[in-house]
Amino acid sequence: MSSVKRAAAVPPVRPEFERAVLDARNVGEILRPLSLWEQITNVTALRRIFILVLLAALWQAYAVPLDNPLIFPTFSDTVTAFWGGILSGEILARTAVSIRLLVVGYAAGVAIAAALTTFAVSTRIGTDLLSTLTAMFNPLPAIALLPLALLWFGLGAPSLIFVLIHSVLWPVSLNTHSGFLSVSDTLRMAGQNYGLKGIRFVLRILIPAAFPSILTGLKIGWAFAWRTLIAAELVFGVSSGSGGLGWYIFQNRNELEIANVFAGLFTVILIGLLVESVVFRSLEARTVRKWGMQR
């Protein structure tokens, strides 16, 4: 063996063979259903609810020994205050005021963003306009415009809608535009090959192809709008007799009804969770997830 040099190593000639493969039924486990526990832990909603329950328990465990309802009311006090607010109709009425404003501002912001990005994809000067405007205004907090808005539009809904539009417009346009830019050349050519042009091309090819980015923009826009609205209501409070949730929080703080303040915040969070997990999640499930564009 020692006489065989490494460089001259020749593999041995081995006999050939052919074999019949086993019937798959005899191999054993090929397809096994997951166990009940695995199936339960696979449900996203259940995992998330578990986290929420855990957080509530931690809150209660911290607040009960603290025993200071003026600084930090317990979870159960907050829920009671929340329930009381719901039953008396006050929270619902305030929420309705906020939501109405939000829907108007959000819809207007998205509509303007749609127009702006359509202009931006169709012309070069439009692209420049959009990127300059977003670079200028996207970092500007909407709430910083509130004093100006109050000066221009007075105390009332128009001022709030103005800052809402500002908070929605830029993130939505930015995401939509970058989504349009990332649509592959092949898909564009396929669309043109069908004879699609102009607005039909945008509607039938670009928008669905860029939908993951558009959806992200809509989500960010929603979060910005909601937080801007509550903050704006806190700052300048009531308009024409009926304030929104922000005003409810502010008012109760002044009256040292801290449990109610928490109930107000609770409502803000609850609506945020609801929109995220019901509206956007089902929209995602019906679109980008079904199409395999997102996991």
Partner: protein, 271 residues
């Protein structure tokens, strides 16, 4: 394709005439001349192959015929009419798998151009889509979204989609290049089977000499940088069945020599 099967037109009236076409495109730094005064004619029922090494402008030429690119010199005419924009009479099958619309099922993908083109009603489109999906053997996958299909299946959908439009000419841009060898061979066989069923006209781009000989009945050999016509050859008699024959190998060697000579020259010019 409708009349190709029953009434062969008189010889000498080509379907597609490409005449002295020079194509250029711009990159960020350069103006690239992809093809220089290329001319050829495709007749109805042809399986016409554009063959050449990468950089010979064969894909650019196909995009020119597709109407995505205007020639700076020369003319491209389909049925005597100049090609000036993309259109559904020249359906394209791309190499990339992402040519299908991910938000539509297989059936909807095949129907979509039929409906948007307004060439037929929704019912008619559904029926025609079904027929062509059956032809490419994807009947079971009709209601599946593209992301759940394998690469070969996606290309089959793209072929079904293009053929359902019953275009004057089918443009295929290296449609099997991204597939594994076994799937590629199967797809070539299926394409030839479809051709003998329906007798469509296809302009097929490839860089594989073997594929060109098997798929095509006429091969245009292009030189690289910029693409110019080196030869136009017949390969009607060759297919998968004759792949080992002396004549097949001879043709393969002949083309190989043409392309290889060019490659040597090329390396000498640009060391």
């Amino acid at each position: 394709m409708n009349d190709a099967g029953n009434a062969p037109p008189p010889v000498g009236t080509p379907l597609l005439e490409v005449d002295g076409v020079t194509l250029q495109y711009k990159t960020r730094e350069h103006l690239v001349t992809a093809t220089y005064r290329v001319g050829f004619q495709v007749h109805r029922g042809d399986r016409f192959v554009l063959l050449g090494p990468s950089g010979c402008g064969k894909s650019t030429l196909l995009k020119g015929v597709g109407g995505f690119l205007r020639p700076v010199e020369g003319s491209i005419r389909l049925n005597g009419r100049a090609v000036d924009r993309p259109g559904p009479d020249r359906m394209m099958v791309f190499q990339e798998f992402d040519q299908l619309l991910p938000w539509k099922t297989v059936q909807q993908n095949v129907m979509f151009p039929l409906v948007t083109g307004g060439s037929c009603s929704a019912r008619e489109a559904a029926e025609r889509a079904r027929a062509y999906i059956d032809k490419v053997k994807l009947t079971e996958f009709r209601d599946v979204y593209p992301h759940m299909l394998s690469g070969g299946m996606k290309q089959r959908v793209a072929i079904a989609r293009a053929m359902a439009m019953e275009p004057e000419i089918l443009l295929m841009d290296e449609p099997f290049a991204a597939l594994d060898a076994l799937t590629r061979r199967k797809m070539q066989e299926e394409l030839l089977q479809l051709w003998s069923d329906i007798r469509f006209t296809v302009l097929f781009v490839t860089h594989s000499i073997e594929e060109a000989i098997i798929v095509g009945n006429r091969i245009l050999v292009l030189s690289p940088h910029p693409g110019q016509v080196k030869a136009e050859l017949n390969s009607e008699t060759h297919g998968h069945g004759t792949a080992g024959d002396a004549a097949f190998l001879a043709l393969q060697h002949r083309i190989h020599a043409m392309l290889f000579a060019e490659a040597v020259e090329d390396t000498r010019v640009h060391p």
